[in-house]
């Protein structure tokens, strides 16, 4: 037994070392940096205590970014669920070509973010884009819509992100759907339940816990998404209409070279996520207890 424990620790050692050195230490170090006015490249730093945090409390840009993040995460989460769950239900039915369709649905999730973004930028291009062409041909709009201009850039970002990430919802939900015993549906059908009531009273209760995980992970991931948002905005002037906290943190650190400020933003996001997750767990537990 003793020998087993030693072997166990030895096997765990490389992972623990890596996690300690590359995850735990940087997170703590990040909190430490956030207390300094630190240049990103030069070895210049000055202790400012909680100064950065006080600054952000009054910083308009911070609150704008926070607002954009909430809108972005909220809208993409709702739409991913609205598109993803029906797709998963559909793919769970038996029909010809199901395997092929499953592969196709996964496609957006597999292609690199940069490709997804450039694809949508081309589709939404105001002069040559397919979207404007179809809208005009259908008579839905009179002139081309500036999808990448300041009024529509957030909508375009949300569309791109939903397209890119809804397959995650499909796959995760589908995996759980497949483990629901068919007898439950048979029993419900015998009892005269239609498709909607079967969904409401069999599928939903069975998939509650996976929905819980999907909502949690997707909202965290969308709120902290960097690449899609940053690539969508490019360097243009519209970037400030979709700037979220991760992009703001990046700009502070690597554009304005204020590493200390960037670190403080990372800490703020970290705390926000922990608090939101804790509240989410509390609410869900209470609901569990009631049902």
């Amino acid at each position: 037994m003793r020998q087993n424990a030693v072997a166990g620790w030895l096997l765990l050692a490389p992972s623990l070392l890596l996690l300690g050195g590359l995850v735990v230490f940087p997170v703590l170090y990040n909190a430490w940096i956030s207390l300094f006015d630190k240049h990103a490249f030069l070895p210049v730093q000055r202790f400012v205590g909680l100064g950065h945090y006080v600054y952000f409390a009054h910083d308009e840009e911070f609150w704008n970014s926070f607002g954009h993040g909430l809108v972005y995460a909220g809208a993409t989460l709702v739409l991913q669920l609205a598109v993803g769950i029906p797709t998963a239900l559909l793919l769970n039915e038996g029909f010809r070509g199901r395997t092929l369709l499953r592969g196709v649905v996964l496609f957006p999730y597999v292609i690199p973010t940069i490709v997804a973004v450039m694809l949508w930028k081309w589709l939404l291009n105001d002069s040559y884009g397919l979207v404007n062409h179809l809208l005009i041909a259908a008579g839905a709009v009179r002139g081309p819509v500036a999808w990448l201009g300041k009024d529509w850039i957030m909508t375009s970002l949300v569309i791109t992100s939903v397209w890119q990430f809804f397959p995650f919802v499909v796959v995760t939900y589908l995996a759980r759907l497949q483990t629901i015993p068919p007898e439950l549906y048979e029993a419900a059908t015998v009892d005269g339940a239609g498709a909607w009531r079967r969904f409401r009273h069999v599928t939903l209760p069975q998939t509650r816990s996976v929905l819980f995980v999907i909502v949690l992970l997707r909202s965290i991931w969308m709120f902290t998404k960097f690449d899609t948002v940053w690539l969508m905005a490019g360097d243009g002037g519209v970037s400030r209409y979709i700037r979220t906290l991760p992009v703001y943190a990046y700009a502070r650190s690597f554009t304005y070279l204020q590493a200390g400020m960037g670190a403080a933003l990372a800490v703020i996001m970290f705390v926000m996520l922990i608090v939101a997750t804790a509240v989410y767990f509390r609410v869900f537990e209470r609901e569990e207890a009631m049902s």
């Binding site: 230490f25 592969g103 996964l106 690199p112 490709v115 996001m269």
Partner: protein, 162 residues
């Protein structure tokens, strides 16, 4: 699991102090950091689902611990290993932030960053950008298609990339 952007600043400073900015090693370390927690979690679930009796039976038949693991446990955990591999591959292949911050030279740039540079060129050549897009999507799709059947199982055991 947290996002790259929350760790990139201390990571960048550490990498700089270690003198490995603009090296492949820096990227390897970054992606390892990012995938390790998830892979540990995923693989643990797979290993746990393999009955201990199988391993014991192999050892009763005279196999040492190492052989029991190699010939009995690993083959059974293969779907999990593949799922972890796909996850890590896609995350590292797609990553933008680490490659953007940690790599400065043209020669070491990864594909996503390189393609993005085409956007920032004076004249945006859409034909060339699209061709680059197809080229960098192909390896990911081929890799994915090859191992797709293991996937639903792997993903069912937990979440996957952000």
């Amino acid at each position: 699991m947290f996002a790259p952007v929350m760790i990139i600043i201390p990571f960048y400073i550490l990498v700089k102090q270690l003198g490995i900015v603009n090296t492949r090693l820096a990227l390897v370390l970054s992606y390892t950091t990012f995938c390790l927690p998830f892979c540990l979690w995923l693989l643990r679930a797979f290993f746990e689902s393999i009955p201990l009796e199988l391993e014991e039976a192999a050892m009763v038949d005279g196999a040492g611990r190492a052989r029991a693991v190699w010939h009995v446990v690993l083959p059974l955990a293969l779907p999990g290993l593949i799922a972890a591999a796909i996850f890590t591959f896609i995350l590292a292949y797609n990553d933008f932030l680490f490659a953007l911050v940690l790599i400065t030279s043209e020669e070491l740039k990864t594909l996503p960053v390189g393609v993005n540079d085409l956007f920032n060129a004076t004249i945006v050549d859409w034909g060339m950008i699209m061709a680059a897009g197809v080229m960098i999507t192909l390896p990911a799709v081929l890799f994915f298609a090859g191992v797709q059947r293991y996937l639903v199982q792997g993903w069912g055991a937990g979440g996957v990339k952000g």
